[in-house]
């Protein structure tokens, strides 16, 4: 595979130089690709570092040329393809290295997705600027990050309003209440049968219908957004906890019975631990639901701060780079939030077959 990629990189480098691309970059890439191709058997790691590094240097100089008049020609795009193939070959090398070292594998597990993401950004940058894509349609990553840096205080205020208040508080109350209600209705088949279908009904409610009503009830500030988040997270937690609490095997219940265990003893020592994988499932689902809920709810009336508010107003002003900066904040916060819960899940359900490996 990597041989094909390096051959491709060489071919496109030559093409790039012939079609009047920046010849220094083309020659350098051709040299590195050929050496990597010929010396592949010596050391995969070395080949990977050389080709990956070369690809990044080439990408950097191409990005530097993108605004010069006449620089973006067919040769330029050939060199972009060559750099991209070189980078691909480099990652192929990295993932082909067979090793037993655990640390190396952990590092590799981080490096490969980071490189992948980096190249996605590089291609995005080259395509938007090279093809002169209007900023309203899709700003380049550099413009977004520039806006990100210069609007730090606004982004932080929005983040505080939307994530730290509406999302976290709503999430904590919604999940906590779902869990407590599940434990309370556990002893009442009547409430279980009555409440669970209503739960499904509420989960199916469109958030755009609920949000304006919550704004009317709880005002413009974050409590109304937290209320939307509570509604969205309560029932997934309720439904999952109820089914988790009935996950224990009959034999385990019999065991508790032979110990003459009380209801609460078997709840805390058997049924809640047994329900933990279900509960964490709900916590993970809810972490994304809470983000969506809080941001969308701000479209229906807010004070002049908040991620949803910013998105809806800046899009109206054609400040699309600000919208993208908010999206980046939301994506970053959302994935960190999810990752934190997934980490807690691994710690608390280390014994579950899906985790213990």
């Amino acid at each position: 595979m990597e041989r094909i990629l390096f051959t491709g990189a060489s071919v496109f480098s030559v093409l790039g130089v012939l079609l009047q691309g920046p010849w220094q970059t083309g020659i350098a890439m051709l040299a590195v690709a050929l050496i990597a191709f010929l010396q592949l058997k010596r050391s995969r790691l070395l080949a990977a570092i050389a080709t990956g590094g070369m690809a990044l240097v080439a990408a950097n100089s191409l990005i530097g040329l993108v605004d010069e008049a006449g620089a973006v020609n067919a040769g330029f795009w050939c060199l972009v393809v060559a750099a991209w193939l070189l980078a691909w070959g480099s990652v192929e090398q990295l993932s082909a290295i067979r090793t037993l070292s655990k640390i190396y594998r952990t590092v590799l597990g981080v490096v490969i997705p980071v490189l992948f993401g980096l190249w996605l950004l590089i291609l995005w940058e080259l395509l938007t600027r090279g093809l002169d894509v209007p900023q309203v349609l899709l700003p380049a990553p550099s413009q977004i990050s520039e806006r990100f840096m210069s609007s730090g205080s606004i982004l932080w205020a929005d983040f505080k309003q939307t994530f730290l208040r509406a999302v976290l508080i709503g999430y904590a109350i919604g999940c906590g209440a779902g869990f407590v209600v599940a434990v309370l209705i556990d002893r009442s088949p009547f409430l279980q049968r009555g409440l669970l279908p209503i739960g499904n009904l509420v989960s199916a409610l469109p958030i755009v219908g609920v949000a304006p009503i919550m704004v009317m009830w709880f005002g413009f500030d974050w409590p109304s957004k937290a209320a939307v988040v509570i509604i969205m997270t309560f029932f997934p937690m309720l439904v999952n906890t109820v089914s988790g609490l009935s996950a224990a095997q009959p034999m385990q219940h019999d065991l508790m019975k032979t110990y003459a265990a009380s209801y609460w003893q078997s709840l805390f020592k058997l049924r809640i631990p047994e329900a933990l994988p279900f509960i964490f499932n709900a916590l993970k689902i809810n972490s994304t639901l809470a983000m969506i809920g809080a941001i969308v709810a701000e479209f229906f009336g807010t004070p002049t701060v908040g991620m949803g508010f910013r998105i809806s107003t800046e899009v109206g002003r054609m400040n699309v780079d600000m919208v993208w900066a908010e999206i980046a904040v939301a994506a970053l916060a959302g994935s960190l939030f999810y990752g934190l819960i997934a980490l807690l899940e691994r710690i608390f359900t280390f014994w579950h077959p899906s985790v213990r490996s």
Partner: protein, 264 residues
């Protein structure tokens, strides 16, 4: 024998399960007395009610007719007084607890203090040859070790009566032989009363001093065979004439209990 030596007394006990196809008679007219220090096996084909009878003794099922006393109490009173330890077909250890804290589980429920729990856990793990494995998790041990841990858990309650429902049924032959031998030693050492459910003739003959042969549909006691084997036994006893003779008697009893040729 005086009354104090009776651990379990069953008179005219019947149990019917209601099902969608009508009532199923699981047990019919059971009369049985088990004395202190007995090792009694219930043997019979599936559907003969041997497990159900054990579960009635443990108050996990309730009889529909007749009477039953455990330590002179109703089964429910006996259960609430933690009069017995129960070993299930599967170890059913909690995967989120270490072996030691699995053994400690019933003791925590009983409300014992930390020091007492620790010493009992240690003592009973040593009794089943699991000293040093307390910090492992159940899924890190073999099936045989897990089942031994579950026996330690039942013993930790320190009951005089041990109820065992095919505890070694899921294990392979060699492990099973080994555990049978260990169980006998344990019985001799602790002088407990053991009620043991099995469908293996050699296992029943090797372990018991009384063998209750049961027959199915409806479940009832076909015959109670007293063992004439010496109380001190090791696996080599299975080659002796008296062992084979006893095994044949059990086999004949099982066969006679069947009204039709279904089991060889």
């Amino acid at each position: 024998m005086n009354d104090a030596s009776k651990v379990i007394e069953v008179n005219g006990l019947s149990l019917t399960f209601p099902t969608s196809d009508g009532d199923v008679q699981a047990l019919q007219d059971i009369d049985l007395t088990i004395n202190r220090g007995d090792f009694v096996s219930f043997i019979g084909p599936s559907g003969c009610g041997k497990t159900t009878l054990l579960r009635v003794i443990a108050d996990l099922e309730q009889a529909t007719a007749g009477s039953i006393e455990v330590n002179g109490m109703t089964p429910e009173e006996a259960r609430l007084a933690r009069a017995y330890g129960y070993v299930f077909q599967a170890a059913s250890l909690y995967p989120w607890r270490t072996i030691a804290s699995n053994v400690a589980l019933p003791l925590e429920i009983m409300g014992l203090k930390g020091e007492e729990i620790r010493s009992r856990v240690e003592r009973n793990l040593a009794l089943v040859d699991l000293a040093g494995f307390g910090k492992k998790y159940p899924w890190q041990l073999s099936g045989g070790m897990q089942q031994r841990a579950s026996i330690a858990r039942a013993l930790a309650v320190e009951p005089d009566l041990l109820l065992m429902d095919e505890p070694f049924g899921a294990l392979d032959e060699i492990v099973r032989d080994h555990l049978n031998e260990q169980l006998l030693k344990l019985w001799a050492k602790t002088n407990k009363t053991v009620v043991f459910v099995t469908h293996s003739i050699p296992e029943a003959v090797f372990l018991s001093n009384r063998i209750v042969v049961m027959s199915p549909r409806p479940g009832r006691i076909h015959e109670v065979i007293e063992s004439d084997l010496p109380p001190e036994r090791d696996l080599s006893i299975r080659e002796t004439q008296s062992f084979l003779h006893l095994a044949n008697r059990v086999r004949d009893g099982l066969r006679a209990g069947h009204s039709y040729d279904e089991v060889s």
